[in-house]
Amino acid sequence: MLESSKVIICIGTGGVGKTTTAAALGYMAAKAGRHVCVVTIDPAKRLADAMGISELNNTPRKIQTSSDLDLWAVMLDPNSTFDELVQKFATSPEQVEKIFHNSIYHNLTENLSGTQEYMAMEKLHELASDSRFDLLVVDTPPARNAIEFLNAPKRLIGFLENRVFKLLISPTQSIFRPVTLATRILLRTISKVVGAQVVSDAVEFFQAFEGMEAGFKERAAEVQNLLAQDTTSFVLVTGTHKDTIDEALYFASRLDEFDLAVDLVISNRVTPAFGEIESDPQPETPKELMENLDFLVRLRSAELTQLSRLSDVISGDRHILVPLLPHDIGSLGEIQEIGELMVDSASTYVNSVSP
């Protein structure tokens, strides 16, 4: 996968080490000679510092590595990405101005779920045609449900195509008098419940966006197309807890709807294997240390039982277990360590998935 993919998309719920995984995959690919850009969103501070992208910046920066790898990183700024899109699809500078001044537009990226995901895809689309890179590793935004990433274009376009407001601003509205009447009552009620400002902001918003839906739609189709390519790989990232496995299974089951499949599962923070207690030949070992080993063996066994549920969606040789390290991951050296463990574990750990 690291040799032939053009796009690798890391998917998973928050807190499972998605950003670290994306960075580590990027690192290993660059080490194998690829020209890599890691696209990330809101990484933990130390990790961002390690990659040299501590500020929001839509421009990829080269990561300073000791062996001078062709490894770049970009931290996505969803707001300015959206601004760029508006500028691209708007028919006039006046339209751009009107949109930029609308309060609903201002709130969109932060408050409409799916917008950040959409912007991540947009950036992906843009970087895919950047000749400096032959592999993009994408760290998707932290969502409650990983599937949000794939639903994002549909959601935003659905929002822009709101029927009620489309009718309201339509020049032919007089023909649809009855509809308009009902709509007007609806709007009056909205004004009463949540304030008149909301209605006027919304009308202004949809007027300003008039005619741009087509551009967004076309773009979404192109992204969809990019995701469906054979050279695009999906990596599911999980932890060992039940809820992260549940989410991964749910995501995998929904991928079908989009004609996509999981190419690799990476499970982070697995308690390492130390070997069985029986194999320990020293009789005078302190009881406390025996209990410690016993505890870790039981913990690992519980984790493996949980992880084996993933065998329905991925074959064992495509399920990588990354052991939990005794320290946090936050430096380039540690990212490299994780990357090497991933590649190693393809042989060392995989066989032990089924308990």
Binding site: K45, K192, V194, L289
Partner: protein, 303 residues
């Protein structure tokens, strides 16, 4: 008693957390740190003390409570769903049955950021006022979202000039400002990123809402080895043996754990309540009862 880490945190404010000193306890923490687990255990402690406990999940979805109990109730308040039902109750129901499908709800929540969150807090306030339970445990959304949620009523009190929203905002603000009515509990694990994020959230919460953290739970604490001087114990063992490697692993993790426990304790000015790691990935009733005992010994939960 839970095993404590090698270097115990310095006690800055020896106040013991009293589970029943507030009617609403909001559980805050980064995703994956075990907010739901803590909510479950505290609910168990509450009902064991004979109190009526209501657990509210900030997201929809499944929620495994420890056991069936007449003293225990559960509901979920997903902001989007709460907004839709609010709009329905206020006269939009008859006009547009398909509020969510027409996208009106999402337009409104984008036009007034936080409206849905405010309505969630308003529902909790309603339960609190009507004394629907002795203790309401709110399993809040992940920390980033939570900060926005808690800042919402303040922002909205100004925006919504009049009408039902303004009243709701003011009443929620009153509840947030009263430590007898509402307290915030933090949950984290003793690792660098989660601890640092918790500290950031806690400081921001103080700054924006004046709310002081009531208690800090440290989840998944690894048992430490060094009560008898673990380092000496492993001398003389075969460095390749499983028992030796396991001991080294635990010692290294415990050292890192106590470093971040200390950092958290200092920043929060609280003695953390430690929840030991259980060698399982899904807690059963017995595990919950065990952890409830462990937590009970570190807090005050007398009827």
């Amino acid at each position: 008693m839970p095993r404590t880490a090698s270097v115990g945190p310095k006690v800055h404010k020896p106040a013991v957390f009293d589970l029943f000193s507030q009617r609403v306890l909001v559980i805050v923490g980064k995703g994956g740190t075990g907010r739901t687990t803590v909510a479950r255990i505290l609910a168990d402690i509450g009902t064991t003390a004979g109190k009526r406990v209501a657990v509210i999940a900030g997201t929809s979805g499944t929620y495994n409570l420890a056991k069936e109990d007449p003293l225990l109730s559960f509901s979920s308040l997903e902001p989007g769903e709460v907004l839709i039902s609010y709009l329905n109750e206020h006269g939009l129901g008859q006009l547009g049955k398909r509020l969510s499908s027409t996208g009106l709800a999402s337009i409104i929540s984008t036009a007034i950021p936080g409206i849905a969150d405010l309505l969630v807090l308003a529902k909790i306030k309603q339960m609190e006022k009507s004394e629907a339970a002795d203790l309401i445990i709110f399993d809040a959304p992940a920390s980033g979202h939570f900060l926005r949620l808690i800042a919402t009523p303040k922002g909205l009190a100004d925006i919504a000039a009049a009408g039902p929203l303004k009243k709701q905002s003011q009443e929620v603000l009153e509840m947030l400002a009263d430590p007898k009515r509402l307290g915030v509990a933090f949950v984290t694990i003793a690792e660098e990123t989660p601890v640092k994020e918790s500290i950031e959230t806690m400081e921001q919460l103080k700054r924006t809402s004046g709310i002081e953290p009531r208690v800090l739970f440290l989840n998944s604490m690894l048992p430490s080895l060094d009560k008898n001087g673990g380092e000496n114990d492993i001398l003389g063992l075969d460095p390749h043996s499983p028992v030796y490697r396991a001991a080294r692993y635990t010692a290294a993790r415990a050292a890192s754990q106590s470093r971040f426990e200390e950092l958290a304790a200092k920043a929060f000015s609280l003695t953390p309540v430690e929840i030991p790691l259980v060698p399982t990935v899904e807690l059963n009733e017995g595990d919950v009862a065990h952890l409830a005992d462990v937590i009970r010994s570190q807090i005050k939960a007398t009827p």
